[in-house]
Amino acid sequence: VTPIHADYFDGKSATRRVATIMVAGEMVTVSWAEGAAEFPLRLTRVMPQLRGTPRRIEFPDGSAAIARDHAAVEAAFQVASARTLANRLESHLGFVFSALLGVIGAVVLGYLYGVPWVAREIAQRLPLEIESQIAEAGMKSLDQTVFAPTRLDADTRAKISAVFSELRAATHLPSTVRLEFRDGGWIGANAFALPGGVVVITDQLIEVLPVVDEAAAVLAHELGHVENRHSLRHVLQASIAALAAAAIYGDVASLTGIAVTAPTVLAHNGYSRDFEREADSFAFALLKETGRSPILFARAMRALETTLQEKRKENRLRKKLGLPEAEKAPPEERDASRHREFDYLSTHPPTEERIRAAEDAERTP
């Protein structure tokens, strides 16, 4: 039997003893320059291997030996099979590669299907009222910072409100879902669905869309956000994605603040686009159900797009002439003013795509 070279530590002091270990029959003998110790083999524990690190052998009295020669340890203690599953996987190049593919696959699938699915399942189980607190707080802070009271006359408001009620009645949504009019301030022509079912439409949007039925198309879209619980799902998806990112990137705690924000922002915007599409198809169905054409939505999109282009053209011209910008180019809905330049970074699908979808919806019975 060949002795194993090891460092022996008695567990009572920091003394390092250069020792040899011999396994003979049922006994393990550790011997060093000035002494020796003997332990029963069955009470001696050989710790599982961890790549590139020496092997720890624990004895019943709390002492331990550290040996570098894994082969000798495994032969002497007959623990070749004591390698743990994780260790075998780590040392097998094929498995490491499969794990890599598995992780990439899981991240991609989790992002595409897993996170949205979990968020939807949770959202469906929570009542709409749970969101109303956020809605009130959100509305209040928007009123303080962005919005001004509406300038629309009572007649226009009544007409639009009637259409909104008609649309809402055609859904399963409760009557607590309501419409609010506001002067949009710097955000301009815009419509939102706040959590809890508050839909806000700005005066500027009504100015761009004077035809009540075109405004109805936009309202139907916003009701799609309410019906599908998009604001709640947004919050849930962001939380789930952030948790997952923290779990994966946890190794670089000090860098996470900087490095993790980028992928989470991208994920966030990707999900927003899916929600817009979902709300669009809900709107098409709702428009048809209330005897309207999905083409109305296409028209509304075009009108908004044209206004945006005109404002941009005007601003470019003013810039050339050295004049100050007349007005910020109004975003078509939320912050879509960027979507031409940064397709993925936009929170809205490109308008052409949505217009085409509306036309398709018109054709299909």
């Binding site: 920091a14 020496p54 040392s91 498995f95 490491v96 899981a106 990137y249 705690a253």
Partner: protein, 371 residues
């Protein structure tokens, strides 16, 4: 500060060494990640133990390595508690802010316990030469370091966010309160971090031998003061150089923002880590016999972080193991211990078992406590 040992130069010095490699750690990391995903996170406790065992076992000084002995089951239990607390908090904060605030208060009251527990769990489960470390700080000790944070929290109760009926408040007053809060937070931050570091050293043991430091809080204020000046001057440089460049071409704007953000971010983190790391280690002694020398450099660490950041971003996170190993190796290469007496003489004691809940809560709520 402790009186320097009389013949510092003649003392034998033992350099730290890290022998792990990016390739090995990548295999451990990716298998950890894969098994954690497949088991819906349950394996993550075992993954954490494997990771820590790998880093400890590859850290050598004076012919011996460190070892980690944390029990995955204890970590799993702690993780479950942490996840439940985190889910409860984030759920409530979205829908019932008042209840969430109450929960935050409870968690804040528990924070000293969480921190003391996590420090103890880490220490007790670490060993060198088969001799365990220990930590005997308790709730009261940690509270003595954390209490100024309560001042910052108390200021937020003055804002109408919390109490709209009682305080009809002009926006200007709200802004003043928020500004006051930010200034208070900045003013107490060095105190809290410094006190925590001091507490960690002064209540730690190696075997029966106590660690100690006579480090004052003033040194921490100096470091954070320099960091504040760095942020301000970086802002000035970005404004002076960046704005004319941005005027030349709007295409350059995102590039300037990213470079400034990453560059300044890396430098700030590097400054904080290197200065505080050096400060704490250089002022720590073990049993009056053994001292440390830490020589982290700002420039080298900044480059390390910057390269790591870009490598992680461009590899979609796959370079994390490589990045982590680089930093740990640099940390080890710049640390040594000096001992007037043979290392063999330290004597052990029996450490009580400590549950992992504290440490895991600390990790999930992102309280960085690493020495």
């Amino acid at each position: 500060m402790l009186a320097a040992p009389p013949n510092l130069l003649s003392q034998p010095s033992y350099p730290f060494r890290f022998t792990g490699t990016a390739g090995e750690f990548f295999a451990i990391w990716i298998v950890n990640l894969f098994l954690s995903i497949v088991t819906l996170g349950i394996y993550s406790a075992w993954a954490k133990v494997r990771k820590k065992r790998y880093f400890y076992a590859h850290t050598w000084v004076a012919d011996a390595n460190f070892e980690y002995h944390g029990n995955p089951i204890a970590i799993l239990k702690g993780r479950i508690i942490a996840v439940v607390a985190f889910a409860a908090y984030s759920g409530l904060s979205q829908f019932m802010p008042n209840l969430a605030a109450a929960l935050a208060l409870v968690l804040f009251a528990a924070a000293p316990w969480v921190i003391a527990r996590s420090m103890a769990f880490n220490a007790v489960n670490s060993s060198y030469r088969n001799l365990r470390f220990g930590f005997d700080g308790n709730y009261k000790d940690v509270l003595r370091a954390l209490w100024p944070i309560a001042l910052v929290l108390m200021l937020s109760f003055l804002t109408p966010e919390w109490n709209p009926e009682i305080h009809p408040m002009p926006p200007r007053a709200v802004i003043a309160i928020i500004a006051l809060q930010a200034v208070t937070a900045a003013a107490v931050y060095p105190f809290v971090i410094g006190s925590l570091k001091r507490l960690q050293v002064n209540h730690s043991k190696y075997g029966l031998a106590p660690f100690g430091t006579a480090l004052g809080i003033g040194a921490f204020y100096k470091i954070y003061g320099v960091m504040l000046v760095m942020v301000l001057s970086a802002g000035l440089v970005v404004a002076v150089l960046g704005i004319p460049l941005a005027m030349l071409s709007t295409m350059l704007v995102p590039v300037i923002i990213i470079l400034a953000y990453f560059g300044v971010g890396s430098m700030l983190i590097a400054y904080g880590k290197s200065r505080i790391g050096n400060l704490v280690f250089n002022n720590t002694e073990l049993d009056g016999q053994l001292t440390f020398t830490s020589t982290l450099k700002l420039g080298k660490l900044t480059r390390l972080y910057l390269v790591n950041l870009f490598a992680i971003l461009f590899s979609f996170g796959l370079a994390i193991p490589w990045a982590v190993v680089r930093v740990i190796r640099y940390r080890a290469e710049n640390l040594s211990l000096q001992s007037a007496v043979p290392l063999d003489q330290f004597v052990g004691g029996v450490s009580a078992r400590v549950g992992a809940a504290g440490e895991e809560l600390g990790e999930w709520f992102d309280i960085d406590l690493s020495l």
